[in-house]
Structures are given as structure tokens and as C-alpha cells.
């Protein structure tokens, strides 16, 4: 039994944290988020050079082979820096899906380029009516001669605007709400009939509504087995949820840290407000939540690495439930303890609070995961 990070991972963590410290202060992040494509292509290339884009992938394709536990290190740092580059969308969702379900040719064509920063992916799985149910797929792919015809819409697809290729889930057979009959296709972003409406999200990221109007793709666009993509989708959503929990740990750590520091400096009634026990105990609640989240984030990463099964479902959902609780215990309280300044656009705290609230809904909210946990 060993729950420490390997030396290599600690080094990666250090270099990423150093990068954030030197190149990624809050003002820089805000201006990146609010202009152009919503992030910096130069930073993305830096990430590639630092090796960050290859962390979870097998060494055969130029990755580090650190797997899901390796992602903890990057995602915690992403949370701490409120990083806007499309790591979750491209590396975690897109890359892991190809690594898990892709053919040898697809892996060879995609993963090395992705790791090198030359190619970006996005995964389109949410639909207007689907909420968190991964079997609710109305989007269709119909076989026509040697091709598939894709038609329907996908919602809130992260970083689709700058992705080179979109992976999309589609119903190829069976009734809606059944696991059987769902397939995955990979489509070039500039394919005829694929249009997108791009927008900013509340927490400063980018997403799109995608519309597929009889988009024709070759058979080679199929990712994984026809009709049997559900377990691959479920896996990658679990992996991304676990990674998001690690990001949440980073967000929560910063919020706790900033709140405690504020309490030490802000004076009212002629003394630092951190002298007041009622505020101290709230900070302790934040700290305990942070540590428990960290524990569940590690556990989820370990169980995702071990493969499919009940343990993975339970540990990911448990971590996600805790992340949902943190929205109020840490997010809302951080804003509250900062007082008026905590609800201004100017202060970074408000933006951490927003991210924490948004990732509750990402990959299923607290209620969804509590129910999922209790059903296995």
C-alpha cells in the first residue's frame, strides 16, 4: 500500500505549478478567457513540451503511461490556476476515448499528434433532453451504402470551436434509453453539414451547440464496436468525472487558502476577523471537506485505473457527491466570508466559486451520483 506520488509525478507537478506561478496569474487568465478562442495556443504548445498532454497515455503512442492517477497531478493544478486551456475536453475526454475504444489505426493517427499538441479533440455526448442519462441518445447514425449519415444536435460540447475532430455518440439501433445500440463516430470539424454555435460559459470556458445536418462519414469514422459503445462512454465519463474531482480539489484548496488569508488580514471591531470562532470553524469545515475530497479523488483515480465494475462506479460517484457538497461548504462560504468583495468580478475568489458551482453539474450532479451510488 502506497498513496504517495512517484518522484516523476512530483517533478511534473512542480513544473506545472511553477508555470502557473510565472505565466498564469489571475489577470492573464481573465484576458485569455475573454478574448479570441478563449485560451492561449502558445500555452497549449508549452503544455505539449512539458509532457502534460501525454500523461495518461500508453508509452507506445508517446505518452508517459501515468494513467488516471497521473491526471490527479495536472487536474489539481488546473483547478488551482483556473486554467482555461482545453485539457479536460481534448486530453481527458477525447484522448482517453480514443485510447480505450479506438482501432490501432485511429490510435496511431490521433494520439501521437494529440500528445504533440498538433491535434485537438472534443466529445459531443450531451443532448437537449438527455440531462445526465448517457443512454438517452436521440442523435442518429444511419447506414447508407458504405457510409453513415449522422443527424441531430449535441449540446454544451466543450472546446468544440477549436477542436480538429469531434467524437459524437449516436443511436445506430435499439430504442432510446437502452445501452445497446449506441455507437461512436469521429468527424472532422470542417465536414460539410456540421455547424456550430459557439459561446462562453459562466465560468469562463468555451462550449458549443453542434448541429449535424445529414453529415456523411465513411465506415472508418466508427470508433469502437458498432452498437456497443455504451461501456466506453460510461468509462470515459467516469474517468473525466474523476479528473474533474481532482480539479475540484485544486479549486477548493485555493478557496480555503485565500479565505484563511483574508481572515488574517481583514480587520473589523479592531481585530482580524479570523479571531472569531464562528469564522474559524467555518474555515475548518472547508479544510475537512478539502481533505475528504482529496481522499475520494485519489480513490476514484485508483478505481478507474483498475477497470470497469462496481468499485469504479461507487468511488467516482462518491467523489462527485462530495464535490457537489463542496459547492456550498467551500464555494458559498468562501464568498460569504469575504463579504462584499467576495461577490465582485474583480476578485479571483468569485471565479473559483463559479467554477466549483459549474462542475457540480458536469458529468452528473450530486443528486444524480447519490442515486447512482445507492443503486449499485
Amino acid at each position: 500500500m502506497n498513496l504517495e506520488f512517484s518522484e516523476e509525478m512530483v517533478m511534473l507537478q512542480d513544473s506545472m505549478l511553477k508555470f502557473l506561478q510565472n505565466e498564469y496569474d489571475f489577470e492573464t487568465r481573465q484576458s485569455l478567457s475573454r478574448t479570441g478562442i478563449g485560451y492561449s495556443e502558445e500555452n497549449w504548445q508549452n503544455f505539449a513540451e512539458m509532457g502534460l498532454l501525454g500523461i495518461p497515455f500508453e508509452e507506445d503512442f508517446g505518452g508517459f503511461g501515468f494513467g488516471q492517477t497521473g491526471l490527479i497531478v495536472v487536474m489539481e493544478a488546473i483547478g488551482k490556476g483556473l486554467v482555461v486551456e482545453p485539457y479536460l475536453a481534448s486530453v481527458v475526454l477525447g484522448g482517453l476515448l480514443i485510447q480505450r475504444a479506438g482501432s490501432a489505426d485511429q490510435k496511431e493517427a490521433i494520439l501521437p499528434a494529440l500528445i504533440a499538441g498538433e491535434l485537438k479533440l472534443a466529445f459531443a455526448y450531451v443532448e437537449r433532453q438527455s440531462r445526465y442519462n448517457l443512454t438517452d441518445v436521440e442523435f442518429t447514425a444511419e447506414k447508407k451504402a458504405d457510409q453513415y449519415c449522422l443527424s441531430g444536435s449535441k449540446s454544451v460540447v466543450f472546446n468544440a470551436e477549436t477542436a480538429d475532430k469531434i467524437i459524437v455518440s449516436a443511436r445506430t439501433s435499439g430504442d432510446n434509453f437502452t445501452q445497446q445500440g449506441i455507437s461512436l463516430f469521429i468527424v472532422d470539424k470542417d465536414t460539410a453539414g456540421l455547424t456550430s454555435r459557439d459561446y462562453e460559459t459562466v465560468d469562463g470556458l468555451r462550449a458549443s451547440e453542434l448541429s449535424f445536418d445529414n453529415v456523411m462519414v465513411e465506415q472508418s469514422a466508427l470508433v469502437g464496436e458498432l452498437d456497443n459503445a455504451f461501456s466506453d462512454i460510461e468509462y470515459v465519463i467516469d474517468a473525466a468525472a474523476a479528473a474533474t474531482c481532482a480539479e475540484g480539489v485544486g479549486v477548493v484548496t485555493e478557496l480555503r487558502d485565500k479565505t484563511v488569508e483574508y481572515l488574517k488580514t481583514r480587520k473589523q471591531f479592531d481585530q482580524p476577523i479570523g479571531n472569531f470562532q464562528v469564522l474559524q470553524h467555518r474555515c475548518v469545515d472547508m479544510f475537512m471537506t478539502e481533505e475528504q475530497m482529496r481522499s475520494l479523488s485519489y480513490l476514484a483515480a485508483i478505481k478507474v485505473t483498475e477497470g470497469d465494475g462496481v468499485e469504479r462506479t461507487k468511488s467516482v460517484s462518491a467523489a462527485k457527491v462530495y464535490l457537489g457538497d463542496a459547492r456550498s461548504i467551500v464555494g458559498e462560504q468562501a464568498a460569504q466570508l469575504h463579504g462584499g468583495i467576495g461577490v465582485t468580478d474583480e476578485l479571483d475568489v468569485a471565479h473559483y466559486v463559479k467554477r466549483l458551482a459549474m462542475i457540480n453539474a458536469l458529468f452528473g450532479d450530486r443528486d444524480y451520483h447519490l442515486q447512482r451510488f445507492s443503486q449499485v
Partner: protein, 399 residues
């Protein structure tokens, strides 16, 4: 990063499991499972069995004092297996609390005199810390020990003394000096419970049971060789005592066992024509506690992993205490809720040995409400959870 045990640790786990299966007395196991009050002889019998097995009764003791000299992971495995087998928890006062103090602060004579009897459960110890007017503010304690020749004369009162009525000896914090700052005037003294002037009075707790006591000390003569450390070292010693065995404070294995018990009970009870465990609202409540427990177990393991790689322990024990007791209490509440109306009948005799009558409602239901009430103590004792939060605010957050 992995959670798997090494082959040696797995072999050890099997050895412990086998040993418990063969040697843990069935009658004690049944009492623990049913939540029936345990007697002194139950504890002593089980502790002697463990002591005879290479000192397993004292997982934290080094081999030189007769302990098994286990690694942190081995201790954790042992604790886990004991929880899973519904083992009676050994009494901590001598084995877990006093013994490490004597090893660190005691004289050779004190170690010689006391450790063997603790290991063999021949002397029963109790703890004399709290006083009627000194609870969370323990350092305000007023029990006085005045030196007269080769004795201290002790006057005062100690309270909430668990199993004080069983005890032969009591380790106490007493005030040996009035002049110094309040923490500085405190000393650590060992008192014979049979000495003239010691009176033990029962306190009946909210569950109707007698476990704790108030102890009155009137001109009790205590030989000076019963002082541990120097005069004025008491507070330092008390603090070090509280730091011991931090990974066990959360009682994760016990809570896991109690969750299993809760699920078994909720599968048997029926509601709306279905097992209660299929009720969405009740199921969600169980899940919420299970998730807390999963997080706690992993936090516990992270502390253990740090200890194993040689890191000095920090103030994690406060977090483990708060979260551990919250989980324990939440489970007792759900156990009580699981039997609905049948939490109401008060059958005091059913909580002790030898009750043979027909239960009212579900078997074992009658102990669940008293247990729920009794476990309110867990967030109060050992430094209340609010005190733990004060400690974390100061030590971890620097507030």
C-alpha cells in the same frame, strides 16, 4: 499509488483472520453483535487470549516491552480484521494511553512495575482527567496534590471516569503548584483506587446504563514514586498521550461493520410492502453515510501511508476524530430509524447478559434507541468536536 497489500501483508491478514476465527469466543462475539453491555470479565478474558498470542493485545507496543512490534500497516490490518469479526475493542486506558506514556516519560522502575500487568490485563486502569468544573478547559483543573514528605496528599474530584468502578488504578492530572501559569502547575500522577479516601459514585447515562463515574478524592496519600515525569510535566504528557494511535481514533472498521448491520436490518424491515432498503429516501441516507465513511477510510489510509514512509504525524487526529464520530453518530441514528415504532419500547434487561424473553418487535430493536443516545457522547469525549475544530483552526490554518 496503489491500495493493494504486499504479499507479506496479505499473509499477515490471513493469519489474523484465521486466529480470530479460531480464538475469539463466540459468546462475546454474540454480545458485541447484539449490542449487549459487556462485563469486566469479558474484556479480561479476551484481552488475555490476545496477550498470549505474542502480545497482540498491544498492537502499538514495541517488541522489547512484549508487544508484537508491528508496522503501521500491520496495525491497520489487525484493526480492520477485528472490526470485520465484530471483536470486542480492548480497553484503551492502560494499553493504548498509559503504556506509551510510561515508555516515553516513566522511570525504569515504573515501567517494570506497571507494563507487565497492563499487558496481561491483571491491573485495570482508568483515566482521571475531567473534573466537574473542567471539561473543554481541561487546564483549569483544581484537583490538588500537595507534597508532604514522601507522599502527595490529593484532594478533589474527577468525573466521566469510564469503568472507574472496575479500576484498580487511575492515571490523573493534578495540580501540584498554584503559582505557575495554569498549564505549568499540572502533574501526571498514578493513584491506587483502593487507597483510603477514594470514593467511586456511579453516573447513569442517557441510555440508562452505568459505565461512567464520578471519583471523589479526600486526603488520598499517594507515594511520590507514583509521579510520572517531573512536577509540572503533566500537560506535556497529556498532550503526547492524545497523539497516540491516531489512525484508530476514527474507528473505521467498526463503522463499516455497523453499516453492514444497518443494511441487514433495513433488508429485513418492510415498508410499503417492500424491504425498507428499497425505499429511495432511506437508501439515499445510507449512501450519504457510506460516502462519508469511504472518504474517511481513505483519509485514514493517507495518514497511514505518510506514517509508513517515515513522516512525522501532524494534526490529522482532530480531523479523524470529528469525521469519525460524525459517521458513528449518523449510523446509530439510521439504525434507530430503521425499526420505526420499535425504537420506543424500553426493555432495560435486554441490554444486559442473559435476557431470554421474546423481543418486542424486531430482534435487537430495543437496544437501538439507547445506543443512539449513548453515542451522543462520542462528539463530546476526547476533546469535544468544537475543541477539535479550535485545534485545527490554530494548528493547521494558523488562525
Amino acid at each position: 499509488m496503489d491500495l493493494n497489500y504486499s504479499p507479506e501483508e496479505k499473509a499477515f491478514q490471513l493469519e489474523v483472520r484465521e486466529f480470530l476465527k479460531e480464538n475469539y469466543p463466540k459468546d462475546i462475539q454474540e454480545k458485541v453483535a447484539k449490542g449487549i453491555a459487556l462485563k469486566k470479565e469479558d474484556y479480561v478474558r479476551w484481552q488475555k487470549i490476545l496477550a498470549a498470542k505474542d502480545g497482540w493485545v498491544a498492537p502499538g507496543w514495541p517488541a522489547e516491552y512484549g508487544g508484537p512490534g508491528w508496522t503501521p500497516v500491520q496495525k491497520y490490518i489487525f484493526d480492520e480484521e477485528c472490526g470485520a469479526a465484530n471483536c470486542l475493542r480492548t480497553v484503551a486506558f492502560g494499553l493504548v494511553m498509559l503504556a506509551p506514556v510510561l515508555m516515553k516519560f516513566g522511570t525504569a522502575e515504573q515501567r517494570e512495575k506497571y507494563l507487565g500487568d497492563i499487558l496481561n490485563s491483571d491491573v485495570w486502569w482508568c483515566q482521571g482527567y475531567s473534573e466537574p468544573n473542567s471539561g473543554s478547559d481541561l487546564a483549569s483543573l483544581q484537583t490538588k496534590a500537595e507534597k508532604q514528605g514522601d507522599h502527595y496528599i490529593v484532594n478533589g474530584s474527577k468525573t466521566w471516569t469510564t469503568h472507574g468502578h472496575y479500576a484498580d488504578m487511575m492515571f490523573t492530572l493534578v495540580r501540584t503548584s498554584q503559582e505557575d501559569r495554569k498549564k505549568k502547575g499540572i502533574s501526571f500522577l498514578l493513584i491506587d483506587m483502593n487507597a483510603p479516601g477514594v470514593t467511586t459514585t456511579p453516573i447513569v447515562t442517557i441510555d440508562g446504563m452505568h459505565v461512567v463515574n464520578q471519583i471523589f478524592l479526600e486526603n488520598v496519600k499517594v507515594p511520590v514514586e507514583n509521579l510520572v515525569g517531573k512536577e509540572g510535566d503533566g500537560w506535556t504528557i497529556a498532550k503526547s498521550l492524545l497523539m497516540h494511535e491516531r489512525t484508530y481514533i476514527a474507528q473505521v472498521p467498526r463503522s463499516k461493520r455497523q453499516i453492514t448491520r444497518l443494511k441487514e436490518l433495513a433488508s429485513k424491515e418492510r415498508y410499503n410492502g417492500k424491504p425498507l432498503i428499497e425505499d429511495d429516501a432511506f437508501k439515499a441516507k445510507i449512501s450519504a453515510v457510506e460516502i462519508e465513511l469511504m472518504a474517511l477510510e481513505m483519509t485514514n489510509m493517507r495518514v497511514l501511508s505518510k506514517l509508513s514512509s517515515g513522516d512525522a504525524p501532524g494534526s490529522e487526529s482532530s480531523l479523524l476524530k470529528v469525521k469519525g464520530t460524525e459517521v458513528q453518530q449518523a449510523i446509530t441514528a439510521l439504525l434507530m430509524e430503521a425499526v420505526g415504532y420499535f425504537g420506543m419500547p424500553y426493555v432495560k434487561e435486554s441490554m444486559t447478559d442473559g435476557w431470554q424473553e421474546e423481543p418486542i418487535g424486531p430482534e435487537e430493536a430495543s437496544v437501538l434507541a439507547p445506543h443512539y443516545f449513548d453515542w451522543r457522547k462520542s462528539s463530546i469525549y476526547g476533546g469535544s468536536n468544537e475543541i477539535q475544530k479550535n485545534i485545527m483552526a490554530k494548528a493547521v490554518l494558523g488562525l
